[in-house]
């Protein structure tokens, strides 16, 4: 393609009608070409009108799912922030309190995992922790990680999931409370999901597990989710998640 030709790609770019390689090449060009950047900006306003023209009322389930996810989705910092590319570089003054909060969460998480997962009573906490250690040294190591962080999210249809993850260990543990068994002929399937929506299966459950599940080998995924799938599981999610929890970056 000649240099003169590349300027004519603005329309195809705005329509997302370029292949992957061409799209990237044009974006590189646009970064150097103010005319193309300005034209793309203008033509995108046409796209907005075209989208409005096909507006359709979405099902109520969409709002529920989005609300459930934004409750556990951390927002990106502004790009103008000099630290925008490294969101983990928290303000130093807050570092200590954040760590203390995480440590407190890790302890709360131990108890919650024990209570929820093993069905024991809250009394006699030391016995519980010892038992959990015996049950799974690995989970206790996850819980003890300095960057272990916990979140509890609702499960569609009732109950909650407690999710504890550690980026330094690349592990996440999930335990469930009050979640119904999967419908007859179906199973629960657990997924790790990337920011782009790609999902990889990390486990199948016929019914609600009675102990915490540990997933190892996180590879930069941003969320853990669960769907209801036909027994035997699916290659990729075929239904909307009943549970999604953002993973601590």
């Amino acid at each position: 393609m000649t240099e003169a030709d590349v300027h004519t790609l603005t329309g195809a770019y705005v329509c997302d009608a370029l292949g992957e390689g061409e799209r990237a090449a044009f974006e590189q060009h646009m970064a150097q070409c103010p005319e193309c950047a300005a034209e793309v900006r203008e033509l995108r306003e046409v796209g907005a009108v075209m989208a409005d023209a096909v507006a359709t009322r979405p099902p109520a389930s969409l709002k529920d799912a989005v609300d459930a996810r934004i409750r556990v989705t951390r927002q990106d910092p502004p790009l103008t922030d000099p630290h925008a590319q490294e969101p983990q570089a928290a303000v130093p003054a807050q570092r200590g309190s954040a760590q203390r909060r995480r440590a407190a969460w890790a302890i709360a998480a131990v108890l919650a995992l024990v209570v929820a997962g093993l069905g024991w009573r809250v009394a006699d906490q030391q016995n519980q922790i010892n038992a959990l250690n015996a049950q799974s040294t690995q989970i206790s190591q996850l819980l003890a990680a300095p960057d272990a962080s916990a979140t509890r999210v609702p499960v569609t249809g009732g109950g909650t999931a407690l999710v504890v993850d550690s980026r330094s260990r690349n592990e996440v543990a999930v335990s469930f409370t009050g979640v119904a068994s999967a419908p007859s002929g179906k199973i629960y399937q657990l997924w790790l999901m990337t920011a782009t929506g790609a999902a990889r299966s990390v486990g199948l459950m016929e019914s609600t597990p009675n102990h915490p599940l540990l997933v190892e080998g996180l590879a930069g995924e941003t969320a853990v989710g669960m769907t209801i799938e036909p027994s035997g599981g699916s290659v990729k999610p075929t239904t909307l998640p009943v549970m999604v929890a953002a993973l601590e970056a």
Binding site: G11, A12, L18, R44, M50, A55, D76, R101, S149
Partner: protein, 199 residues
């Protein structure tokens, strides 16, 4: 709930003027879920409608719309009013995600069915102009579409509403690649001038 939840800012003063989507997006960027409810009410229809149009599968459209709306929440601080309207920013995300999904689905289907059967030709199931008809507030777009040449209109609508690459559009229309690229550009430019947007 958890330490991860964003803090809520003070709510909007009562009696405030109705404000633009860009103002609401800025509030969303402060972690305000109440502001997101407002944004959701404004954009979920076009986002879901566009995804449905491109994917032609309500379940998949709902999944993609969910991804887009969560991305709007996550990236609200990245919206830059100097680079276009808030609505164009959202719809750019929605269009890109829908097209990426339809291409991924197509690639997967191609892999699975390569030896089974030929994939049905990807012609649009209905005329786009027809779907746009009948809604008063959409007559302006319809009128402006009517001002395009056939090749401009078909190139723009096949790419934008069906998610085809310009190569696929050229094949469907039996037109040269270079011509189709140019028609997408001058077609959109003519719509821009007719609609009076983007300047």
């Amino acid at each position: 709930m958890t330490g991860r939840e964003p803090l809520h800012a003070a709510s909007q003063a009562p009696g405030a003027e109705p404000e633009g989507l860009d103002v609401w997006l800025r509030r969303v960027s402060l972690g305000r879920q109440d502001a997101f409810d407002h944004v959701y009410a404004e954009i979920s229809g076009p986002v879901y409608g566009l995804a449905t149009r491109i994917l032609r599968d309500p379940a998949q459209a709902e999944e993609v719309a969910q991804e887009v709306l969560v991305e709007v929440w996550r990236q609200a601080s990245r919206f830059d009013p100097a680079r276009g309207s808030a609505r164009a920013w959202v719809m750019t995300i929605a269009h890109r995600r829908s097209v990426d999904r339809v291409r991924a689905e197509q690639a997967a289907a191609d892999r699975q069915e390569r030896n089974a059967r030929e994939t049905a030709p990807m012609l649009p199931e209905e005329d786009v102009a027809e779907a746009v008809e009948g809604r008063l507030e959409r007559q302006r777009l319809r009128r402006c579409m009517g001002g395009l040449t056939d090749l401009q209109r078909e190139s723009v609508t096949l790419a934008y509403y069906s998610g085809y690459t310009y190569q696929q559009v050229a094949e469907l229309l039996g037109a040269p690649l270079g011509t189709v690229k140019t028609r997408m550009r001058d077609g959109l430019a003519r719509l821009r001038d007719c609609l009076g947007v983007g300047r």
